[in-house]
Structures are given as structure tokens and as C-alpha cells.
């Protein structure tokens, strides 16, 4: 077999694995979020399709969305309207290229992994602005403008929060950062960084309380107001895919990735495979983000920007300074 064919085969295999993972995630998380929100709200949630817990509800939704009429409103900017769902979906999948699911379970361990993540996730903004503009609707335009302002404001603290672990690990590779956390998870020495990352990540994700661009009570549905059927579900897929991606990156950077907790004895560590640790932590973070979403009200756009520029940015800078100051101490203590 020629070498290029092997490479191509692997690439296709990996790509389909990622795609499968993303789709499965979306199916599972839609159901999980509904059930979770329902319990918080004293409701039952999905229960009919797939009794008794409604676990087939997301499948039913998929079939419903697939069978819907493909509506393209008359006055939309057709090309942008059609392209926006793809533009938002592709980077959402691309992030997973560098996510280390296990010691050897990674598509490509780029040595600039973190930079790659920061670059790829920023694409979401372009897609949202495209969708908002193309739909030829005032609500969606306002939403697009909000999204742009929001992503610019929160990209900076997000990247700055990432710098802490990078400084401690001394590498940009995600796999390298995970390996560096064998002795101690970085959340212990970087609690501030973790909080900033989670907050900014939620803003990047457009999750409540930062879901300004799709604020259903003000802008009805924001940028996806004119979308329906499968096109709309691409936005949905991308949202849940990004949700897992941000949680996975946070796990990688601060919660030790696929490493078992450092304080456990070695015998126990060996019992559970790394990928299980990784997924467990990721889904825990996903659940926390959902929990926050179903608890807090939404902030306003000016308050959001204030919070990003005037609070998160100084805090993340302070975090970097602190990390630099504490670095020698931590090394002396043998914590890293």
C-alpha cells in the first residue's frame, strides 16, 4: 500500500471519528441539557420518546429537523445565508484536532496547539456576523454586532488566561501541558486563571449569562432568527460542539486532561483508562456551564463589555504576573 494512501486512510478515519464524536455529543448534550434544566425547574423534561427517560428525544428532533422544508427567505443575501452554517460548523469540528483525549488518543499533537485553538475558535464570530447580516433582519443585525463586540472583548482574556498554564508547562502543545500536570493539576495553582478561562469561554460560546447574540427575550433568536430546519441545526450543532470543546480545553489546561487525580495511589490510577478520566472531567465542566446557564439572568451588552475589558482583562493580566512571581517558589517546592 502506498504511503499516501495510508496517510489518507488515517486522515479519513480520524476525521470521521471526530465528526461522529461531535454528532454524538450534540445528541447526548441536547438530551442532557433538557433533563438537567427540567430537574432544576421542577419539571420532568423529555419522557415520551425512549421511555422512561426520553433518551431518544434528540433523535426525534434530528428527524424532525431533517424533514423540515428548507426555507430561504426572499430577500436574504443568498450566498452568505447558505455559507454561514457551514462556516460556523467547520471550525467547531476543527478544534478537536488538537484535543488530547488520552496519552495516544489525539489526532495531531501540534506544537502550537493552544495558538491553533485560539485561532480556530475565533472563526465563530465571522460566521455569526455572516448569518446576522445575510438574514436581512434588524434583530439579527443587532445580534451580529453584539456578537462581534463580545468576541473581540473576550478573546483577549481567554488567551491571556491560557498563558498561565503555558508558562508553567513551558510548552504550547496541549499534550505537553497535560503531561506536565502529572504531579499537580494547574487549577490548584491557577484558580484565577481557571475562572477567567471559564467565564471568557462561556462568553465565547454565547452561553447564558452571556448569550446576548441570541437573547431570545430581546432579539427573539438573534442571528439564527431566519434559519430553520437543517441549516438552523448546524448552528445548534456548532454550539454544543463548541461547548464540549471549551470544556475539553479547560480540562486539558487546568484539570489535568486525561491524568487521574494526582493524589490517588498508583494502583487506583491504573484501574480507569485515561480517556474516561478526560471525558468525565469534560462532561462535568459541561454540566457546570449548563448549571450556570439555568441559574443566572442575562447581562446587558454594555455591562458585558465593561466586565470583559475592565474586570477580566486586568484580572487575567494579574494572573500572568502572579504566575511569573510564584513560578520560582513553586519550582522550589517541587510542585511543578
Amino acid at each position: 500500500m502506498p504511503a499516501w494512501l495510508v496517510t489518507l486512510g488515517w486522515a479519513v478515519l480520524k476525521a470521521s471519528l471526530i465528526l461522529g464524536f461531535v454528532l454524538f455529543n450534540a445528541l447526548f448534550l441536547v438530551w442532557w441539557e433538557r433533563k438537567f434544566a427540567a430537574r432544576i425547574q421542577s419539571r420532568v423534561g423529555p419522557q415520551r420518546t425512549g421511555r422512561p427517560f426520553g433518551y431518544l428525544q434528540s433523535m426525534a428532533d434530528v428527524f424532525k429537523l431533517l424533514s423540515k422544508e428548507d426555507v430561504v427567505p426572499a430577500r436574504v443575501d443568498r450566498w452568505m445565508y447558505v455559507l454561514a452554517p457551514i462556516v460556523i460548523f467547520v471550525p467547531a469540528v476543527l478544534v478537536y484536532v488538537v484535543v488530547p483525549f488520552g496519552p495516544n488518543l489525539i489526532v495531531q499533537d501540534l506544537n502550537i496547539g493552544i495558538l491553533y485553538v485560539a485561532a480556530v475558535t475565533s472563526f465563530t464570530m465571522i460566521a455569526i456576523v455572516m448569518a446576522g447580516w445575510a438574514a436581512n433582519n434588524k434583530y439579527s443585525v443587532v445580534s451580529a454586532m453584539r456578537a462581534a463586540a463580545q468576541l473581540v472583548a473576550y478573546e483577549v482574556p481567554l488567551v491571556l488566561a491560557v498563558i498561565g498554564p503555558v508558562m508553567l508547562a513551558g510548552t504550547l502543545s496541549l499534550q505537553g501541558i497535560v503531561r506536565a500536570q502529572e504531579g499537580l493539576w494547574y487549577i490548584v495553582v491557577q484558580p484565577l486563571g481557571f475562572l477567567v478561562f471559564l467565564t471568557a469561554g462561556m462568553a465565547e460560546l454565547n452561553r447564558a449569562p452571556f448569550d446576548l447574540s441570541e437573547a431570545e427575550s430581546e432579539l427573539v433568536a438573534g442571528y439564527n432568527i431566519e434559519y430553520s430546519g437543517m441549516r438552523w441545526s448546524f448552528f445548534f450543532l456548532a454550539e454544543f460542539s463548541n461547548l464540549v470543546a471549551v470544556s475539553a480545553i479547560a480540562t486539558t489546561l487546568f484539570l489535568g486532561g486525561w491524568q487521574a487525580p494526582w493524589f490517588l495511589p498508583a494502583a487506583v490510577k491504573g484501574l480507569i483508562p485515561p480517556v474516561v478520566w478526560f471525558l468525565a472531567k469534560t462532561y462535568f465542566l459541561v454540566t457546570v456551564i449548563m448549571w450556570i446557564r439555568w441559574t443566572l439572568p442575562r447581562v446587558r451588552i454594555d455591562q458585558l463589555l465593561d466586565f470583559g475589558w475592565k474586570f477580566l482583562l486586568p484580572v487575567s493580566l494579574a494572573n500572568i504576573a502572579l504566575t511569573g512571581l510564584l513560578f520560582p517558589v513553586l519550582v522550589r517546592l517541587g510542585w511543578i
Binding site: 438537567f36 427540567a38 430537574r39 432544576i40 425547574q41 421542577s42 419539571r43 420532568v44 419522557q47 448549571w291 450556570i292 439555568w294 441559574t295 443566572l296
Partner: protein, 175 residues
């Protein structure tokens, strides 16, 4: 209350604000967490049913006298006159014994506002509000109830509306 605007304050005030804000957010999350372990209050309708109080007013039904198996209604037209939206239509008929009875009795349930005034004005206790809330239909015409659709047998305790003064306790209470 506690949480306040942060502008134009000293750094110490800002820290106090930060503490209060964080505490409030944590408390809020505690409430939602607590609800994760509470039982849902949903009634899953087709399997579990909502049991309305027996005197719930859903629609006026024609009462059948159990002894004679005939409608109590004498077609006196009181309800037709009293009905605010005017959706009751009665055609009076006369039997061989000169007693009047409703030859036709229609209620347009599509327009019924379920006020129960027809029941209140009925001098013969021939109408009752029934708590039967399953009234879906496939066609709007099904919303027009006729004599046959409206006829019910009322057994056991009556609904508690006092027709005449002090009468409602005599029937006993469904408890």
C-alpha cells in the same frame, strides 16, 4: 439591597461588592442545585390525570333524573335568557301529559365562557357544571353539544353551589 452599583467607590468598597456578588451567585446556584434533588411537580397527563375538584366548572350538562331516567329540564328557557354570550338554544316540546321538555337543547361549547350562570338560574336543578375537561374534537361542529351529548347522570354528592339558601350542605361533601 445589598448588591450595588460599583462606580465611584473605593477599592475596599469594590472588594466588599465583589464578596457580596460572589456570595449571591453562590447562593443562587445552591438553590438550583437543591432543586436537582427535589421531585418534579409535573403531572404527566395521559398516564396521570389532573383531578379537578368535583365542583370544577367545565361545561354545563343536563341532569338526568335517576328515578325516571328522564331529563330534569322542563325547557323553561331561564338559562337561555340568562346566558351572557347567548349560546344556549332550546326548542320546547310538549309531551302527552302536557309536561314540557326540551325537544332540542344546544349549547355552542365553542363560545361557552363557563361562567355557570345557567346553572345558577336553573329553577329545577336540571343543569350541572361537570368537571369533565376532556373536550377535544376533530371538527369545530363537534363543539356544539346537543341534548344527547349533554346528558349526564349525577350520582353521589352534588356540586356545592347553593341553589336555594343553605342547600349545599345537605348533599354532603365529597372529601
Amino acid at each position: 439591597m445589598e448588591a450595588a452599583v460599583t462606580r465611584n467607590r473605593s477599592f475596599r468598597d469594590f472588594l466588599i461588592y465583589l464578596y457580596r456578588a460572589a456570595r449571591a451567585i453562590v447562593l443562587g446556584h445552591a438553590v438550583t442545585l437543591k432543586h436537582l434533588f427535589r421531585r418534579p411537580v409535573t403531572i404527566r397527563y395521559p398516564e396521570e390525570e389532573y383531578h379537578a375538584t368535583p365542583w370544577h366548572r367545565t361545561y354545563p350538562a343536563l341532569v338526568i333524573d335517576e328515578a325516571t331516567r328522564e331529563l330534569k329540564c322542563t325547557a323553561c328557557m331561564s338559562c337561555e335568557r340568562a346566558c351572557p354570550p347567548g349560546i344556549i338554544a332550546i326548542e320546547r316540546a310538549q309531551g302527552e301529559d302536557k309536561k314540557t321538555y326540551p325537544g332540542e337543547f344546544w349549547i355552542d361549547m365553542l363560545r361557552c365562557m363557563e361562567c355557570g350562570i345557567c346553572v345558577e338560574v336553573c329553577p329545577f336543578d336540571a343543569l350541572e357544571m361537570v368537571p369533565e375537561y376532556k373536550m377535544t374534537a376533530y371538527h369545530p361542529d363537534d363543539g356544539i353539544f346537543d341534548k344527547e351529548r349533554l346528558a349526564v347522570v349525577v350520582r353521589g354528592p352534588k356540586t356545592p353551589w347553593p341553589r336555594r339558601k343553605g342547600s349545599y350542605l345537605e348533599g354532603g361533601w365529597p372529601t
